[in-house]
């Protein structure tokens, strides 16, 4: 038995070492260690223990630990017997999207990809920091799809067992397991226990206790940052994050530090934007125009978002790192012979934005002034979480499971409300899908939103998103019961500016709450 265990640890170790060696951060680590070895603190006669000590002292050990911690996260695999079914559904959806891109391209007479002319390249370069002044005609472009279109796709999933296609508007027939309230209580222990959690709403009880608690949290947070230890950062976030430390703690947790390789990488993405004119750029610009540019919370960051979103579309690492690689398009540059050098994946990231995609990045503008730093944290978030919110998959973190979770929670939390929706023939998901798909970005005020995202990281799970959606709907129950049209229901749920995330979640999860 023990031997078996040993052997499995041995295997894991080999796997970790292999993967580390192949990762793009390896070069840095290796060079740093080489430099360390050549110093006097590492002695040849006692190589192993002096090296370990030196690594501890210089922080390289923490660095290595963090890498392994993050590696374990990415390898956390769940498999589901219905993976293939969902995968097929996603591929089918991908194809529909590609088809609509192609028809958009032919309708508008615009090629999907071409080299950018020199003058345009120069103009783009000179306006890189004020891309809102880069003139492009986007008025003919429409978002490829919106959350409600995606919901239709999800609602049409009949489930692999074709027997019951009666309840068209329920997810319940899908064979996915989701957590019920008491299971959620076990996951979100700190919230359920009613632990004191730092959040801006405690400002209203502007008392000394709050100041003391905040000072304690800041001191502890600084300590963790000094130790540079990612698992601690994750644990720390469970009890709320002081605003001044959030950017650094998130960066540490996600391993999104920017050093020279990242700066260079971001430069290549930019270079690629300057070089190629992809139709996707127009869709990105359109999306920013429709969302952030009109939003009093984000309009000031418009120019940063242009940079970040355009570069994101060129990031081929994303396509590589996504689990269940999406189906992607390949297009030949306009006016070039059909050869491999003239063919590119469209877009290189493989991600086709939907209406509101910009909102995955916008809130980070509150945390970073520097677009490169912002980019890598946003990208890490996308690779860990956001991609699951707009793709069909079986994962318990995927949009399908999250919708199902919403549905089940609402059903058992507030059956009368559920029935009211049913009587009106309005699926409650129709109203909340945009919240869930955007993880509430653009819906909650930034301060509350960042607190929500703290807990996504803290518990490394998106399950808090549908939970919050249910709580808000239940919180507005009285007003919802009074209305029966989609427009009126939407009106009741339109304004989330008064929502206080942490207290609401506590109310839902604490046993003696109203739950």
């Amino acid at each position: 038995m023990d031997e078996l265990k040993d052997r499995s640890i041995h295997h894991t170790t080999i796997k970790i070492c292999d993967d580390l060696r192949n990762s793009n951060q390896y070069q840095n680590l290796y060079e740093d260690i080489q430099k360390l070895v050549s110093t006097s603190s590492v002695r040849l006669d006692d190589f192993k223990s002096t090296l370990l000590r030196a690594m501890q002292e210089t922080g390289l050990e923490a660095d290595l630990r963090n890498k392994i911690y993050r590696w374990v996260k990415t390898k956390k695999k769940e498999s589901n017997p219905y993976d293939a079914f969902f995968r097929k559904a996603q591929i089918h959806w991908d194809k529909r999207i590609h088809k609509s891109l192609n028809s958009m391209s032919s309708e508008l007479g615009i090629s999907l990809a071409k080299s950018r002319g020199n003058s345009e390249k120069e103009e783009l370069l000179s306006k890189w920091n004020e891309l809102s002044n880069f003139e492009t005609d986007i008025h003919k472009y429409r978002p490829v799809y919106a959350p409600k279109d995606f919901l239709e796709v999800l609602l049409a999933l009949k489930g692999p067992s074709k027997e019951r296609d009666c309840h068209k508007w329920e997810f319940a027939q899908l064979p996915l397991k989701v957590k019920n309230l008491s299971e959620l209580r076990n996951v979100y222990v700190e919230i359920s226990r009613g632990d004191q959690i730092l959040n801006s709403n405690s400002l209203s009880n502007n008392n000394q206790n709050f100041a003391i608690f905040e000072a304690e949290r800041v001191a502890l947070g600084e300590k963790i940052l000094a130790k540079n230890y990612a698992p601690l950062a994750q644990e720390y976030l469970k009890r709320g994050c002081p605003k001044g430390l959030r950017a650094r703690l998130w960066t540490l947790l996600l391993g999104a530090e920017v050093k020279s390789p990242q700066i260079n990488y971001f430069e290549t993405l930019k270079h690629n934007v300057l070089h190629y004119d992809l139709m996707i750029d127009k869709l990105i610009i359109k999306d920013i125009n429709l969302t952030a540019s009109n939003d009093d919370q984000y309009f000031v960051f418009e120019d940063v978002l242009y940079q970040v979103m355009l570069c994101f579309s060129r990031d081929s690492e994303i396509l590589k790192q996504l689990p269940n690689q999406p189906a992607f398009m390949q297009v030949v540059l306009k006016g070039r012979p059909n050869t491999t050098e003239n063919t590119l994946v469209f877009p290189p990231s493989g991600v086709i934005p939907f209406h509101g995609f910009t909102m995955y990045a916008a809130p980070f503008c509150y945390l970073f002034n520097n677009s490169t730093e912002l980019y890598f944290v946003f990208r890490a978030f996308y690779l860990r979480y956001w991609h699951r919110l707009h793709r069909v998959c079986a994962s318990s973190q995927g949009i399908v499971a999250l919708c199902l979770q919403f549905e089940k929670l609402l059903q058992c939390y507030e059956p009368s409300l559920w029935n009211h929706f049913k009587k009106c023939r309005i699926h409650p998901l129709r109203v909340v899908i945009k919240w869930i798909m955007r993880a509430f970005s653009g819906h909650l005020p930034p301060e509350q939103l960042l607190a929500l995202w703290d807990s996504i990281l803290a518990y490394d799970s998106l399950e808090i998103v549908p939970l919050l959606a249910v709580v808000i709907v239940v919180f507005r129950k009285d007003n919802l019961m009074k209305v029966n049209t989609l427009a009126n229901i939407e009106a009741v749920l339109a304004d989330l500016s008064s929502i206080a995330v942490v207290p609401l979640l506590q109310m839902a999860l604490m046993k003696d709450g109203t739950a």
Binding site: E130, V218, G244, D296, V300, E302, F368, P446
Partner: protein, 401 residues
Amino acid sequence: MKISFCTDLDKSVVVANCEKRGWLQVGPEDDWNVYWAGTQTCRSLFSVDSGYRMNDNQIINHFPNHYEISRKDLLVKNIKRYRRDLEKEGNIMAERGDSKYLHLDFIPVTFVLPADYNMFVEEYRKAPQSTWIMKPCGRSQGSGIFLINKLSKLKRWSRESKTPFQQQLTKESYVISKYIDNPLLIGGKKFDLRLYVLVTSFRPLKAYQFKLGFCRFCTVKYDSSVAELDNMYVHLTNVSVQKHGGEYNSLHGGKMSVQNLRLYLESTRGKQVTEKLFDQISWLIIHSLKAIAPVISTDRHCFECYGYDIIIDNKLKPWLIEVNASPSLTSTTANDRILKHKLLDNIFNIVVPPTGTPDVRWNKIPLPEALGDFELLIDEDLVSLNENGESGFSRNNSKWK
């Protein structure tokens, strides 16, 4: 008793708020309890000729000589006098270092033209490459403002304006202020803060700051080059200026909330510097009010809500630009409407005593729950209570004395 109100402003936010309270709208000739008036109306009401005498159950939203703070030249004059007086007293607040006031240096160096022309030239010569801003003393909404980077431009201006303006010049004086050429930029754009301050009494001073102000952004990137000196979309943050620009967006109106500014600053620059900035803002508000307190003809029927214009520079130092006695109550966006509704609602909660009937004999110490989104800045009654150890009231007022 049925409360009646009167207003000469056609602002839905005023009427809606009063009606919500069940107050009855009446004309100025009728018996009113609450008058929300324009400054002109208010001044004529208080003028000797009007012969109007208010009873104990009437309140009005302006002090008779509010222009002591809202006129650009008088504000500067009062603040300069306040500093000098403190200095004479030997008050440490008026301490100087390097000839500048250390704690009371919160308005840009300013002179009144044509009166202080020679003093201005002397100051100008110390740093001839700097930019100055010319503003007519009595106007608002950015009208008549221009920037100057050469003395010759000022001379030309005064020559040109002499002929037609000769007589007017005495009437329309200007202030010329050092231009804050290093404003804090967000997204590359200049902005200023619009904050609301309610004063219910000047002697003793009782003032409240509204937590929900906003930043007003320029629509065009900031550019301090000479070529853009005349481009008002770059330099003036007034909504009344910006909304004529091609880039104006009527959904957000170029307005971002102060809470979001605070979130951004705290997240990117840290808690300490952000707190210091906001403390300094409260500090400058209090001292600007103290500076005019001695000259305001205090009247127990009056309260006033001021719109403060503040610019933050890139070292996170706040500068007082001007104080408006009739800040705009027009709503440019949906959020703006919500904010202004709350503002009016909260003001009435504070100025009307808990009995619900305006009463000038009331001690004007509102219940804590009546403050809403206002925060107490200073109440000299409470400060003196504290000093006598009579009250357990524990806000950090002492910080502001």
